[in-house]
């Protein structure tokens, strides 16, 4: 079932979801992509009335399946102009599913600020004038008070209202649908929040079989050293020392691959200095989230990516300052990766004298000030709010922006992990570590350790990871499960929950279908082979120090074979045969 809400005319309607679409795209990212592909002109201005926003959950959402509490938001991104799905944890997803909805489509634009309240399978558009200008924390508290204390809120902060290009959508105050600026899409529609409340649990087709598979999955997650120990004890910040040690921890805006002060922001130091307690999203046996305290203020995060974005890449090694910048992003509603990376870009522009502002690497006070100015779009924050690509282009030095397709690169320098770099270059939503997490095999040895410096032999593994990731996102499960679970377990969970028999290969095929549909949308939006690349620095400037020194990304060795492996032509366009095979 789909709930469609038109903010222009106030019309709210329930629609049946075509069973064939459900079978072929599952839910979450797949379903959201299908809806956006069918209903949104790829050339539309992402911040116009004609763009749409889909909140989608998956067939396992709200069940006993581990990590079944995630939802996807899909739209055309104002940061990249490409299709973008942003995945969010917290507690909200089951509330949508428990009312029988697979997706909520938001379309049109309200004349004044509103929020949408969904309860008992009924949607309602309510005035949010009194909330406009409130930060995420205030908004969440007021909406819970105004609706129901059990309600869950996904809202934007001042950054979304002001159309910051990397504004995000926040749930449970500190969990984010972070990447791609979908908070700005909400802001452009004058939609302050989506508030939902449902009653569970989600019914499954074959309960006995389903619980048997769930039990096996929980056991497997409990056995895996990453999900059982590292993520539980340190959270995602367990990665700082590992990634720094192998020399792919981008430092000072990717000028270096090793951060000399990483011991100040590593996992053990995090526990000693700022940790308060772990946080688990709905249905999660891992609990990688961190609650922290700095100067009496308790907040969510920072997670690994944020520790990097406000740490190494900005040259900051004081965890307290990193946490404060994270808290500011949570309240303002901004993606910490893009924010930190854009500030780092400004720092390098400043250092090289390309801008007149004095912004030094390591100046944490300035970093915090700029974060706040960006969220409010004041002063130089107005320019940062456009993201690093537009910022660097404005000053005539696009090479300084560490981005792919307009989205800032995350915390792994691909010069020391060739497969991961191919993943960045070909990612459908711009630079993204989650589209093909090749750090698994290339660094962490999951599922098996492979030579991270070799370009040869990586293409098919990247393709498999991309397809499986798209399929897991379409289940709306957390990607961390894939450290422990394999496609066999995902297919078994899906089959038992839906009563439709999916083989592992069919499950992977769902992901491939989603990946190709995203490609088709992006090609119509103007993207193509020329955009399947990474910044010049990554291709031409070898790392100078650390355990990946001397390396560049050998993208040219991999890209043609990647297109072939995908069944695309030499320009990166899906062939008719491939589309036919996928039923597209």
């Amino acid at each position: 079932m789909i709930l469609r809400i038109n903010l222009s005319n106030g019309k709210i309607s329930d629609e049946n979801l075509d069973p064939q679409v459900k079978k072929e795209f599952l839910g979450g990212r797949g379903l959201g992509t299908k809806i956006i592909y069918d209903e949104v002109d790829p050339k539309v201005d992402p911040l116009s009335e004609n763009n749409k926003l889909v909140f989608a959950v998956g067939p396992l959402t709200g069940t006993a399946a581990p990590t079944s509490g995630r939802f996807e938001v899909v739209s055309k991104s104002p940061l990249t102009g490409a299709i973008c799905d942003s995945n969010c944890g917290g507690q909200m997803a089951p509330q949508i599913k428990w009312q029988g909805y697979d997706a909520i489509i938001i379309e049109g634009k309200s004349k004044s600020p509103v929020y949408v309240w969904v309860k008992d399978k009924k949607g309602e558009i309510r005035d949010a004038s009194n909330l406009w200008g409130n930060d995420v924390e205030e908004t969440t508290k007021k909406l819970v008070e105004e609706t129901d204390k059990r309600a869950q809120v996904a809202c934007i902060g001042p950054a979304g209202e002001r159309l910051v290009k990397f504004a995000c959508i926040m749930n449970d105050e500190h969990r984010a649908a972070g990447r791609g600026g979908l908070g700005a899409v909400m802001g452009s529609k004058n939609l302050k929040a989506l508030v939902v409340q449902g009653t569970g649990p989600t019914a499954v087709a074959n309960k006995e079989k389903f619980m048997e598979v769930v039990k096996h999955c929980l056991m497997t997650i409990d056995k895996n050293p990453l999900t059982k120990d590292a993520l539980k004890i340190f959270g995602t910040n367990a990665l700082v020392s590992i990634i720094n040690e192998v020399g792919i921890f981008p430092t000072h805006n990717y000028q270096f691959g090793h951060f000399d002060e990483a011991d100040g922001i590593c996992g053990p130091k995090y526990i000693e200095r700022i940790f308060v307690k772990p946080y688990a999203c709905f249905g999660c046996p891992i609990g990688c989230g961190r609650m922290t305290r700095v100067d009496g203020e308790v907040g969510g995060g920072p997670e690994f990516e944020t520790v990097w974005a406000f740490g190494a890449t900005c040259g900051v090694s004081r965890l307290e300052d990193i946490a404060k910048a994270n808290y500011a992003c949570n309240r303002l509603g901004m993606d910490t990766i893009s924010m930190g990376s854009t500030i780092a870009c400004a720092m390098e522009l400043s250092k090289k004298g390309y801008i007149k502002e004095k912004i030094n690497f390591g100046d944490s006070a300035k970093m915090l000030e700029l974060t706040k100015l960006t969220g409010l779009k004041e002063g130089f924050g107005n320019e940062l709010a456009e993201g690093s690509k537009r910022l660097a282009e404005k000053y005539g030095h696009p090479e300084i922006a560490m981005q792919v397709k307009g989205m800032e690169m995350p915390a792994y320098d691909p010069r020391g992990a060739q497969g991961h770099g191919l993943g960045y270059a070909t990612s459908s939503r711009g630079a993204c570590h989650l589209r093909a997490y090749m750090i698994g095999p290339e660094v962490l040895g999951v599922p098996a350790l492979i030579d991270r410096f070799k370009a040869e032999g990586k293409v098919k593994i990247v393709k498999l990871f991309q397809d499986v990731s798209a399929a897991v996102d379409s289940l709306s499960l957390c990607r961390f499960t894939s450290f422990a679970l394999t496609v066999d377990e995902y297919a078994a969970l899906l089959s038992a929950a839906t009563g439709v028999d999916y083989s592992s290969k069919e499950f992977i095929k769902v992901g491939e279908r989603v990946w190709n549909l995203e490609r088709l949308f992006n090609m119509k939006a103007g993207y193509g082979k020329k955009d399947d690349t990474v910044p010049r620095r990554i291709l031409d400037e070898p790392l100078k120090e650390g355990n990946s020194r001397g390396r560049v990304l050998e993208l040219g060795k991999m890209l043609p074979d990647y297109y072939k492996a995908r069944g695309w032509d030499s320009e990166g366009a899906p062939t008719k045969e491939k589309l036919s095979e996928l039923g597209l």
Binding site: P447, A448, L449, D451, E456, L464, S504, R549
Partner: protein, 289 residues
């Protein structure tokens, strides 16, 4: 003549030719828990996993033998325990007593540690007597002899393997997991060359994923000692859905790279490092990892 180092890329390539099911691999795994602090819950889980994955064997400290025998009653799963572990420096009488008690408690295989000091003294009779005593005390149960290959040169590994066979033990085994290095392709290959086909060669230590497991089998192992059995079998699923043919540089798999100045005899350390001087793969040697 092919050198032990040259066996590394050979074995790595040979993994592609192996046609093994997850069940085949599970049937070679000694599912091992020799940590000094694991409690009843973890040992029970070890047994449960062995049953769920149909591993060949569980390998535990002597203290847990009775417990495992009870947990695995009615199954075909073998129970192995250790003697003279992990340093091999106990007297022969004590090792034999450990083995006898283990068998009484329900062990059906015994993994003993060779007396490396006596071997270094070239007191080969003592080494063999030490092994024979355990073999006799084990009352017909297969005995695996751990060489702790990280303490030995290539030539010593060959010599030690021959002694194990002469002493009528049943397996030659590479490492305890507590020594300077785990199983490596050249070491396993040398062990297999020494004892010949049809004899037991157990690779143990540092086998963390399915690629490691396949390399050890390609090098000549017919038994794998690992605490990562569940991960190996689960992750082997991924091999069904795409090629994982990323060839490793030989150095990452070479004992010369793993040689550790602080943990092994200085002469042995130097022996391994000097192998790099004439290595045909020296150009691959990189600074990382």
């Amino acid at each position: 003549m092919v050198t032990p180092m040259e066996r590394i890329p050979q074995a790595d390539r040979k993994t592609k030719e192996l046609d093994l099911s997850p069940e085949d691999i599970a049937g070679m795994v000694d599912h091992t828990q020799l940590s000094p602090y694991k409690a009843t819950k973890q040992i029970k889980e070890l047994c449960d996993e062995a049953k769920a994955y149909n591993f060949y064997c569980v390998c535990v400290h002597p203290f847990w033998t009775k417990f495992c025998a009870n947990e695995l009653k009615g199954t075909d799963i073998v129970i192995a325990t250790v003697a003279g572990f992990p340093l091999g420096q106990s007297t022969t009488e004590i090792k034999a007593k450990e083995a006898r008690k283990a068998v009484e408690d329900g062990a059906t295989e015994v993994d003993m540690v060779m007396n490396v000091s006596a071997f270094k003294d070239k007191n080969y009779d003592l080494v063999k007597d030490d092994i024979r005593a355990v073999v006799e005390a084990s009352n017909g149960c297969p005995v695996k002899v751990i060489l702790e290959t990280g303490f030995m040169t290539y030539e010593e590994i060959t010599q030690a393997s021959l002694l194990v066979k002469e002493a009528r033990a049943h397996f030659v085994k590479s490492s305890t997991g507590f020594g300077p290095m785990g199983a490596t392709i050249p070491h396993i290959w040398l062990m297999r060359e020494a004892v010949g086909e049809g004899y037991g060669v157990k690779a143990s230590g540092g086998i963390n994923d399915f690629k490691d497991a396949l390399r050890m089998i390609a090098a000549g192992a017919n038994r794998l000692g690992t605490s990562a059995g569940v991960k190996i079998i689960d992750s082997y699923t991924w091999a069904r859905y795409t090629d994982w043919d990323v060839e490793e540089i030989p150095c990452r798999l070479c004992p010369s790279r793993k040689a550790n100045f602080d943990k092994m005899p200085k002469g042995t350390f130097q022996y391994y490092k000097m192998k790099c001087v004439d290595c045909p793969f020296r150009e691959f040697n990189r600074f990382y990892e």
